[in-house]
């Protein structure tokens, strides 16, 4: 992360991040279009996005798919993992390709992860596989209703 530490976002970077979190033109010259709105040249915008990606200020540039709409399975799951097994269970989860995110939370249920599968029915299979391997119960909490997704975070 030292590269990130050494690079400070300037006002132009912040303007780009704030504007392009909300969307990106779908047209023949989208960078030119977006750059014009931001008062930049097309090449400068491309170079800056490239740098923001390289410096890890961005995870991605492009689409975010809705797994459920694509016909796949998606769920949030959690486990209560004893301290001395935490690293090994975490490494095991990371090795499973259907685990999209995996993070520690400060709670008795301390291991949280998102499962994304190509087929809806595969969620149960992956959960059973994890329970068999770790001998720990998995709490399965698929969303029943989504009220809001506003991941806009100003820089």
């Amino acid at each position: 992360m030292s590269e990130t530490d050494s690079y400070q976002l300037d006002d132009i970077d912040k303007k780009i991040i704030n504007a392009l979190q909300k969307g990106f033109p779908i047209s023949a010259r989208p960078y030119l279009e977006a750059a014009t709105d931001l008062g930049l040249s097309e090449q400068e915008l491309i170079d800056r996005i490239q740098r923001l990606l390289k410096q890890k200020f961005l995870t991605r540039f492009g689409p975010m798919y809705d797994a459920a709409e694509l016909g796949g399975g998606l769920t949030l799951a959690a486990m209560s993992v004893p301290e001395n097994q935490f690293e090994s269970v975490s490494a095991y989860l990371n090795s499973i390709k259907q685990v999209a995110h995996n993070y520690e939370r400060e709670h008795r249920l301390n291991m949280w992860f998102v499962l994304a599968t190509e087929q809806q029915g595969d969620i149960e299979k992956v959960i059973h596989q994890i329970e068999n391997q770790t001998r720990l119960p998995v709490y399965n909490m698929p969303k029943e209703h989504s009220f809001f997704v506003n991941l806009y975070l100003p820089a």
Partner: protein, 156 residues
């Protein structure tokens, strides 16, 4: 979805090419016309298969280091109304109803707050609880400071 549509989704998933005609580059990679790609993306946005399109930020490197999942046990007959009101707060980034897992996980409403400090999370929480009059319901705040794996899921 057709084979061509799957190829476009797959190609897009790698990230939009950083060149002046990114959609043309995708069209050439999958073997169709640029206008096909443009129309396809617009259609998938309308259908909500593409839920967002643009920059996806790494919230931790932007200073949003305190990620709190706040969960509540709200009576079934009230949860949708309260969740709807909660979603109106700018600082609430995600808000979902999920099943309780009895006996030891009584919570059915989940919201996510990305913040630059823990203090901000607690202040926000106090305001929401008092304004929505939900102080009496059991809740928990689960902070996360460390992600072991964060990548976009691959679907196609």
């Amino acid at each position: 979805m057709t084979e061509l549509e799957k190829r476009i989704l797959c190609e897009l998933q790698k990230g939009l090419p950083l060149e002046t005609r990114p959609y043309l580059a995708i069209a050439e990679a999958v073997g169709c016309k640029e206008t096909d790609v443009l129309q396809f993306i617009e259609a998938k946005q309308t259908e909500n298969i593409i839920s967002r399109f643009g920059l996806i930020i790494m919230h931790r490197t932007l200073g949003y280091e305190h990620n709190a999942m706040v969960v509540w046990d709200i009576p079934d007959n009230l949860v949708d109304q309260i969740a709807g009101e909660m979603a109106n707060y700018d600082c609430v980034n995600l808000c979902y109803r999920r099943p309780r897992v009895p006996p030891d996980w009584p919570y059915n409403l989940f919201c996510m707050i990305h913040a630059k400090s823990r203090g901000f999370v607690y202040e926000t929480l106090k305001i929401i609880q008092s304004e929505l009059q939900i102080d009496s319901y059991q809740y928990a705040v689960l902070f996360s400071e460390k992600a072991y794996k964060q990548r976009g899921a691959k679907y196609v």
